[in-house]
Structure formats: structure tokens, C-alpha cells
């Protein structure tokens, strides 16, 4: 087995009341991947992210991050949300410095200056073209700028695993594309491991080095009776070749065909793939099926 696993999930189940959301999820993610997770709405993408974050806990199974089980939120994981990522009462600079101050200084003393971290914060702000807005409050910024600050804020703490929950979901298409490029550049520059949840298949295929499709549209040997409670599984796991960064790639015929293929296999209630035939081509992909799911 690959010893370089950042994240390994095995036999994870999660249900809310009678509704099974995550159904026997298995996943290993190597360090340095930009792993995108897509799926039809309501399939449990955000639930899986919250489990990774430790905001909620699985009913069964194990979630191991860097060799330790995932507990309550801690600096092992960074997070960028679609909104509410920033502290509204702090300026942009203070928001970016928040990680350094909160983790290194006592809460009951006034913040002291930290020359090294401040220099790093400034360099990060320069990199994301936010220096001019440094003294502004989050509500004075546009949506795209806010998300850039949120990314800088999360990166300051150099989290071993960076989780992103639809971070660009509320942005207009141009800003969104710009942000995607920023993220890909930062990913390569800082050798980050990122787990990126989105509902936009184009985005997922474009920025990721690995694409995971979570979906409730599949079949298995448990039968088709309505009594069978079935939740979402990872129905597709692809390695993505990402050599160049130009946005023109999005309009290439190959890219479009690939997106359509993924969409057909994961997003359609009328085209259900059997658990044995999932497209799990990624070398790190694995799947443990129960006897009921795979009877032959």
C-alpha cells in the first residue's frame, strides 16, 4: 500500500434519521493531489466534507488523516467555505494573520507583532493582489476578493490537508475562472493536498489532478425493493492529466467528451452502473464491497 497517504477512508457510513447518505465509502488520497469531488445535488458531498473536517462524525468506518483518526476540527485541516470563512470584525490583514496569532499567542493577551509571519502574510497578499485592500474589512470587498483572502488565510497555517466547500460557487464566471487558475498555481507552488468539493463538473475536471464522483445513482445486488436503503457511493475515480493551465482547455473537444462521459456515468438516474463496473481507474482507487452488495 502507498505509505504516502494523506487521507484514508474505509467503510464509512453516515445517515440522518432513516435516510442513508453515505454508503460504504472507501478512499485513499496521496499527498500532493488536488482531489475534486463532484456529484448530483443532495448526494452527500458536503456531508463527506464535514466528516473529514470533524464537524460531524461517521456512523461506522474509519477516517484517518496523516495516520490519526479525524476528531474535532484542528489545524491538521484547513477549510475554505463558500461564505462565512472570514471574520467580519477583522481587516483583511488581521484575517490573514489570524492563524498565526490564534495558534501561537495566548487568547487573553493583546496580539504581539510577529515579523516573520507578517512578512509571509504580506507576500501572500501580494501574490493574490490584495495588498491595496489590506486595511479593508471583508464586507468592503467583492466576492472574488473575499475568497482570495479566505484562501490566503487558510494557507497561512500551512494545513496538511486543505478542504474547500464550493469555494467559488457564488462567483461570476470570469472571477471564477481566475480563481481556478490561482488555486492551481498555489497548489503547485506550495505542494498542497487539497480536497475540493463542487457541484460544477467542468470546474472539477478542469482544476483537479484526481476526480471523484459521488452519486446515489447506481445498482448492486441488494435488490431493487424500496425497502433497500441505499446511499451514495464513489462511482467514478479518474486520474486527470493536467499539464497546461490555459482556460482554452475547457473548450477542447477531448475535455468536453470527457465531461460528458463522467456526467452520463454518475449524474443520471436512468443510467445506473453496477457496483462491480464502476469506473475506478485511478491507481490509488480501492473498493471493499459487502457480501450483500456483490453476491456473485
Amino acid at each position: 500500500m502507498n505509505q504516502n497517504n494523506k487521507l484514508s477512508i474505509e467503510d464509512v457510513y453516515k445517515s440522518y434519521g432513516n435516510k442513508l447518505v453515505l454508503d460504504n465509502i472507501d478512499l485513499k488520497v496521496a499527498a500532493g493531489e488536488l482531489c475534486t469531488l463532484v456529484g448530483p445535488s443532495g448526494c452527500g458531498k458536503s456531508t463527506l466534507l464535514r466528516l473529514l473536517l470533524g464537524q460531524e462524525f461517521a456512523d461506522a468506518g474509519s477516517i484517518i488523516i496523516d495516520g490519526a483518526p479525524a476528531r474535532h476540527p484542528d489545524p491538521h485541516r484547513g477549510i475554505v467555505y463558500q461564505k462565512y470563512s472570514l471574520f467580519p470584525h477583522m481587516t483583511v490583514f488581521d484575517n490573514v494573520m489570524a492563524g498565526s496569532r490564534l495558534s501561537k499567542q495566548a487568547w487573553y493577551l493583546p496580539w504581539k507583532r510577529d515579523k516573520d509571519d507578517e512578512a509571509f502574510a504580506i507576500s501572500m497578499l501580494e501574490r493574490l493582489r490584495l495588498v491595496d485592500a489590506m486595511r479593508k474589512f471583508p464586507h468592503e470587498l467583492s466576492g472574488g476578493m473575499q475568497q482570495r483572502v479566505a484562501i490566503a488565510q487558510a494557507l497561512m497555517s500551512k494545513p496538511p490537508l486543505l478542504l474547500m466547500d464550493e469555494p467559488f460557487g457564488a462567483l461570476d464566471p470570469d472571477t471564477r475562472e481566475q480563481m481556478q487558475i490561482y488555486l492551481m498555481e498555489l497548489h503547485e507552488e506550495h505542494k498542497l493536498t487539497i480536497f475540493f468539493v463542487t457541484h460544477d463538473l467542468d470546474e472539477a475536471c478542469y482544476i483537479g489532478t484526481r476526480l471523484l464522483v459521488l452519486s446515489q445513482y447506481y445498482t448492486d445486488d441488494r435488490g431493487e425493493e424500496p425497502t433497500v436503503a441505499r446511499g451514495a457511493k464513489i462511482v467514478g475515480d479518474y486520474r486527470l492529466a493536467r499539464e497546461a493551465l490555459p482556460t482554452t482547455e475547457k473548450s477542447s473537444a477531448y475535455f468536453k467528451a470527457f465531461v460528458e462521459q463522467v456526467r452520463a456515468n454518475g449524474f443520471s438516474p436512468n443510467n445506473r452502473c453496477h457496483v462491480r463496473d464502476f469506473n475506478l481507474k485511478h491507481p490509488h482507487s480501492f473498493q471493499t464491497l459487502t457480501r450483500e452488495e456483490n453476491q456473485f
Partner: protein, 284 residues
Amino acid sequence: MTANYKPVQPARLFGVHATPRNWHKLVLGLLPFILIIALYAYASHARKLDNPDDKLLPGFSQMVEAMQPLVMQPSPRNGQYVFWADTLSSLTRLALGCSLAFVAALWLGLNMGAFRGLEASASPFITFISMIPPLALLPMLFITLGVDEVGKVALIFIGTFPLMTRDVFIATKAIPREQLVKTLTLGGTQLAYLYRIALPQIMPRALDTFRLSLGAAWLFLIAAEAIASTDGLGYRIFLVRRYLAMDIIIPYVAWITLIGFLLDWALRVLARRLYPWYAGVNSK
């Protein structure tokens, strides 16, 4: 050829599109004050014509005359300037009761909003005791704590504390969960979340609540002073009531109102200075 239309002039005073100029607003704002004073002066004058000894609507010169010894001359009994001594003791009681209640409410409400365990225990209790009419407790307070300062401060505290606590609690609970998770993933502790993230975010709202509670605090202060006291603005009003001394009561009420207005204004300015981000966040 394009027709030469006149530029649109916005309405200044009437209709939903009106955008009054600043001097419009000043004049319009002063208008009710001027009207009420003029109306009073007229009524007072009319009664004086009828009965020169009328005590109910004293003229302004009468008020000045009556207030003069209280404001400008030391009392022959204890050498104090009565008006200023009354003001000082009333404000001391008000400040003590209100600030104690504010600090206690801030601390308890914040902890209740952040810690579910404490919430489960304290929330129903605070909701329950906030229903007690504080004035009904006044006799009990005077019996147990005595009729001097402690009893009056306690009444103001009990009268304002539950409501402020509930408001701080609600504001803390309304902070998105994301902010807590964010703090923890950035390496902050639970207490760092409480005092560095949650507290500054609710402070401007808490100051608003404090401002609104001042009205209730005045009510309890005057009530306590009216019943058992030897000085204070409320005490004086209820004392001179026996002599129908409207020429003292009216200036005292106007003075209380002015202090209340200035306190309210000062707190608003303070909140805007300390928390400049608050107005912007709320307007979104």
C-alpha cells in the same frame, strides 16, 4: 436632434422619492420641539391671565426662579448644591446597576451561546426569571438589602440583567458555526473563539441592547428613589410633588430626559468608533 429635456429635479420634502437636504432635516427635526415649547408658553400665559397664582403650568421665568437656589446656592442644611448632588447620586446608582448588569449579561450570555451544556441549564431559568416584574421585587429588596444604595442598585441590576443576557445569548448563538470551525482549524482554542472571535462580533449589538435597557433602568431608578431615598432626581420630584411644585418638577424631568438623550448618543458614537465594520455588515 435630441430634445432638450430638463434634468430631473428630485423632490425635497414630499412623497416617497423625497431626499431632504441637511438644513431641511435640521429645521424639520427642530420643528416639533419649537411647537411644543410654544404651545406650552401659550397655555401657561393663558392660565396666568385667568389666575395669577396658577401652579399647574408655571412660566419659564418662574421655573428659573424656582431652580436657582437648587442649582446655584448651597443648601443651608448640609451645604450641598441640591440639584447637582441629586444628579450625582442618581447617575452613580444608574451607572453601577447598569454596568454590573451589562458585564454579567455579557459574560453569561456569551458562555450560554457558545457552550450547549450551559445553555441547557441556564436558558430556561433566565427566560423564567425575565418574566418577574422587577418592581414587584422592590419591597423584598428593601427588606433584605436595606433602603440605602445596595437595594436601589440591585433593583436596576435585576431589572435589566435578564433581558440583556437573553439578547447576548441569542446574538452569540446566531454566529455561523463556520466561524467556530474556522477558529479551531486555524489553531485557536475554545476560549480564543469565545473572547477573540465571538465577543468582538457581538459587542456592537450588545451595546445597542445596553442603550435600549437604559430606558428601563431609569424607570427602576426613579421608582426606587421615589419610595425610599434621601436624595436623587427621582426623590426630589416625588418630594416637591407634595407642594404641587411644577416649577421644579418640569425642569427635573427635562434634565433627566436630556441626560438620557446624551447617554444614548454617546453610546452610539462609541459603538461606531470601536466597531466601524458593524454598520457595513448589517447593511448587506
